[in-house]
């Protein structure tokens, strides 16, 4: 039976009615029309759908909508810049400065992963390292990995200012 669900999406309360077992990715894309999070596998492997829940990275393809609580704040790539009150988050700006993207399909997920990673490392009181970059699982079939690494380093410096 369809049930009612509500949460905060990119700063605004949204309501949706569907089976509780539907993964959040499809609620976002198919029911709410938010297309920044991409489908790349639906297996929590490629990380193309990476978004944030209460500031932490998560993968909407692997979470049922019923698991999202009323006051959870979901941020997708569309809402990222607003979290820093600017037109572009420093990570997005770094992505443009380094010209990271090729086809661009995986890049919203890459950026959301990168922001969460930098914040996580900063919370531990240290700077991001090559070893940290090696932990990123997001797939980029165009092979933009070296520029992703460069852009994260650039943005991390900007974010700590």
């Amino acid at each position: 039976m369809p049930t009612k669900h509500t949460f905060i999406l990119n700063g605004k309360r949204v309501h949706v009615e569907c089976e509780g077992t539907v993964r959040l990715l499809w609620v976002l894309r198919d029911l709410l029309g938010v297309h920044g999070p991409k489908y790349g596998c639906g297996l929590d492997v490629c990380k193309a759908c990476t978004s944030h829940v209460n500031g932490k990275a998560f993968h909407p393809c692997s979470v049922s909508v019923s698991e999202i609580k009323r006051d959870d704040e979901i941020t997708t790539i569309e809402g990222l810049a607003a979290t820093v009150g600017k037109d572009l988050h420093p990570m997005q700006q770094a992505w443009i400065d380094v010209d990271v993207a090729q086809c661009g399909y995986c890049q919203p997920g890459q950026i959301m992963t990168a922001v969460a990673l930098v914040n996580e490392v900063r919370a531990k009181g240290r700077n991001i390292t090559e070893a940290d970059l090696d932990t990123i699982r997001n797939v980029c079939r165009c092979g933009t990995y070296p520029r992703i690494r460069e852009a994260i380093m650039l943005a991390a410096a900007e974010m700590s200012r």
Binding site: M1, P2, C18, E19, T21, V22, R23, W26, R29, D30, L31, H35, G36, P37, K38, G40, C41, G42, L43, D44, V45, C46, A48, H59, C61, S62, V63, E67, T76, I77, E78, A81, L88, I96, D99, A101, Q102, C103, G104, Y105, C106, Q107, P108, I111, E130, D134, T135, I136, R137, V139, C140, R141, C142, G143, T144, Y145, P146, R147, I148, R149
Partner: protein, 785 residues
């Protein structure tokens, strides 16, 4: 007659190349400019060919005529519809008759137009042209050929438009066009008065299409071409607003997926619980879609969300007929390849020393990150399709045939693609979406699951390469290569239906296309005496789902060649780099080779278990070299990454590329970098295991494409100065030399020459394969708390 002017000076490289017989193909072309009847100024370019040269020429050695020329020459007769339109707001629009799948062609074309017209880059709008059958061969994106074919005609159309704006300005400002200066879309007279492009867009419009005079700018006048520019869609990408096919909102087009067979190309015979599945939450339709030579097929499920489609697919009880590859496994294909391998000719000099080796290259997937997908709305005798397509004309014509419609009643929109790697030469999802929409009588937004994309999607054909090199004294006397491959599907022809149909005639795919492409692309770039390279194929073109994945033959042919080169150098007591220097037969290759050796400090002292490797490659009117360093030490190889494969790590990549004329060096570097990541994967980790008629890999944690933990921390791409003055291809250029360099480095680091690729393919399987029934694995749920 308005021909391209003869070169005025040495700096005028573009025109020099066009007029020089040495440029191959281009010398035969004269460019005509037109003004098109329209409400605003529209410039157009047509290519003109003497009738005797309009047909596709006989195959010649790749030195003088290669695949780039073939694809360019096949576009010559019909390029008249390339138009650059000036809008009332002062912007300029161009509908590109090519696919954009990440290779950056929209940015490069925008740069060419902006330069020719004195516009800012952001004033040029590039869209992707709907299928336009009148273009025949000229709407086919393949063979890294796009810039080679389109650069000059686009400039001509832009120059015509600019010329007409200048002409219109005389009516406002007085004087002659030659009196004016143009900057940033503003035309200024000597007295300082000015008029904008926008204000002249309508004034310059013509009511009758006419031939128009034009003059292309000299190289020295170009501001953007040759300078690094960021992608024109970068902002849309980083804000999530770039739209791919599945992001489009077509009314009524609900999510649709197919339940696919447990073996390759199996056929659905019966569904035993159709009513039950149809009643599942959100599901609107369930129907068998027969497998045909054009439609992969299975059981279609349409619903409110893709998630509900996945649940429904896994609930289906289906009886399947076996598929086209029977119960074959890797070892069976290997045996068939061995049996079909052409014999080597007897050595010319029986007293020469001989080195011989057979190399094996396993299947690997051409999966882009965006899975196969298309939207289709078939109703009332008409069809409308949205998909990323490299052969949109063929798609339109074939869909008309498949559905029993008139070609004119089928509209095909080309969407931005999330990668291709050979996949989008074919139109599997578009054909399937059209079939499903017709069957259901409803619009569908059809997408493949990743697991299906691996298991049933198109792969690089498995192949072997047998190489024999003979040498005597300080000379290589002969080099023979026998490449034996599972057939590569060329049934898309050159992107329209006549050549596509020709490719499916008995033996035509192999004899007419594979052999042609092999001959026109493959070469041994060394002075090795008598050189022979032959291709033989096994199976029908549609036994396996194959395609021109990532550079087709070149990565494998080049890797086999370069490993033999290293062995010859060793046997002849020479350094691998110096050996290549002395035998390379192309000055552009020599220059890139020297460049990577110098920048990469070839021969520097390195720790045991680590080594350098070097590879070179020439194709698409371009030349590339790659130097890598690899770390095969135990501590590196045994790194642990959960559900990931580590293995040897390439720690450094230095690439040098001569693309003739780099329109956008930043984009060219990106293409080479991407090719290098692919070359690393193909050498070390990335393949598909065939077992009992099915591929075992079902996710990116099974198929080990390069991930961050495999990425070299140090990557540098050096763009060489313009050489030929004409843009060569680059989309796939980085794959072959990197793969070869990694293989050579591995051999030098470990002391063992690898003979099968990827090198880890025959290791124990590093993952547990997903089941084939139910066909789709469930997403993990363990990372959310």
């Amino acid at each position: 007659m308005f021909e391209v002017r003869r070169p005025q000076g040495a700096e005028d490289d573009d025109v020099t190349a066009a007029a020089s017989p040495a440029a191959g193909g281009l010398s035969r072309r004269r460019f005509l400019g037109y003004l098109i009847a329209a409400p605003t100024v529209v410039g157009a370019a047509q290519l003109f060919v003497e009738p005797a040269q309009a047909s596709i020429p006989t195959v010649q050695p790749v030195d003088s005529y290669d695949l780039s020329d073939l694809l360019t020459d096949s576009t010559l007769a019909t390029s008249g519809l390339i138009t650059v339109a000036v809008n009332r707001d002062g912007t300029v629009s161009f509908a590109l008759p090519r696919a954009e799948v990440g290779q950056g062609i929209t940015t490069a074309v925008a740069m060419a137009i902006a330069d020719e017209m004195d516009l800012a880059l952001d004033k040029v709008n590039i869209t992707l042209l709907d299928a336009a059958p009148a273009l025949v061969y000229n709407q086919f994106t393949g063979g890294s050929n796009s810039m080679h074919a389109i650069y000059t005609p686009v400039r001509v159309a832009a120059a015509v438009a600019r010329g007409q704006l200048l002409q219109a300005a005389t009516g406002v400002l007085g004087g002659l066009p030659s009196d004016f200066s143009v900057r940033n879309a503003v035309i200024t007279a000597p007295d300082g008065r000015s008029a904008t492009f926008g204000s002249l867009a309508e004034k310059g419009a013509v009511s009758k299409t006419t031939r128009a005079h034009f003059q292309l700018k000299a190289r020295s006048q170009l501001r953007l071409v040759g300078s690094p520019q960021g992608r024109i869609d970068a902002l849309a990408i980083v804000t999530g607003s770039k739209q791919f096919a599945m992001d489009l909102d077509v009314p009524g087009a609900l999510p649709t997926m197919l339940c696919r067979p447990p073996t390759i190309n199996g056929t659905a015979l019966a569904v035993h619980n159709l009513a039950q599945v149809q009643a599942m939450p959100g599901i609107t339709d369930v129907a068998i879609i027969p497998h045909t030579s054009k439609v992969p097929g299975g059981v279609a499920v349409r619903g409110e969300t893709f998630g509900q489609c996945i649940d429904a697919i896994d609930a289906l009880k289906v009886t399947w007929a076996p598929g086209s590859v029977g119960g074959r496994s890797d070892r069976d294909v290997l045996a068939d390849l061995a049996q079909a391998a052409p014999a080597l000719t007897p050595p010319i000099d029986p007293t020469a020393n001989s080195l011989e080796q057979v190399f094996t290259f396993y299947f690997r997937a051409g999966d882009p990150l965006e899975t196969n997908c298309a939207i289709a709305d078939v109703a009332g005798g008409k069809a409308e399709i949205w998909s990323s397509l490299k052969s949109p004309i063929w798609t339109q014509e074939q869909i008309a045939q498949n559905l029993g419609l008139q070609v004119a009643d089928v509209t095909v929109h080309v969407t931005q693609g999330g990668g291709s790697f050979g996949r989008h030469l074919f139109s599997d999802a578009a054909f399937e979406a059209a079939a499903v929409s017709q069957r259901l009588g409803k619009p569908v937004k059809l997408m493949w699951h990743r697991t299906d994309n691996f298991r049933q999607g198109r792969v690089h054909p498995m192949c072997t390469s047998r190489v024999r090199l003979t040498y005597s004294g300080a000379n290589v006397v002969s080099f023979d290569q026998r490449h034996t491959s599972v057939a590569t599907d060329f049934s898309m022809g050159f992107g329209e239906i006549l050549s596509a149909m020709a490719a499916t005639l008995p033996d035509a795919n192999s004899l007419g296309y594979s052999e042609l492409v092999f001959t026109l692309t493959q070469n041994v770039p060394y002075n090795f005496g008598v050189v022979t390279q032959l291709l033989n194929e096994i199976y029908d073109y549609d036994t396996f789902n194959t395609g021109s994945v990532r550079n087709i033959y070149s990565p494998d042919v080049t890797t086999a060649t370069e490993l033999m080169v290293d062995q010859a150098a060793k046997a002849m007591g020479q350094d691998p780099y110096q050996f290549r220097r002395s035998f390379v037969r192309d000055s552009r290759l020599l220059a890139v080779l020297d460049k990577v050796a110098q920048v990469g400090k070839w021969g520097r002292s390195m720790a045991p278990g680590t080594a350098q490797g070097i590879g070179i490659h020439r194709e698409y009117k371009s030349a590339a070299a790659c130097l890598v360093e690899i770390d095969c030490r135990r501590a590196t190889v045994n790194r642990k990454v959960k559900d990931g494969y580590t293995g040897p790590r390439v720690t450094k990549v230095i690439c040098a590329v001569d693309a003739g004329l780099a329109i956008n060096p930043l984009g060219l570097q990106a293409q080479m970098m991407g090719g290098a990541m692919d070359g690393i994967a193909q050498a070390l980790t990335y393949s598909m295991h065939l077992e009992n008629g099915a591929f075992l890999e079902g996710s990116w944690d099974n198929a080990y494409y390069t991930r961050q933990w495999n990425t070299p921390p140090d990557v540098e791409v050096i763009v060489m100065p313009p050489s030929t003055g004409q843009p060569g291809g680059a989309g796939e250029l980085g794959v072959a030399p990197t793969m070869a360099a990694v293989a050579c480095a591995y051999a030098r680091a470990t002391g063992t020459v690898p003979t099968s690729f990827p090198i880890n393919h025959n290791d124990p399987l590093g993952f547990t394969p997903y089941p084939t029934v139910p066909p789709l694995p469930e997403s993990k749920t363990d990372d959310f708390s």
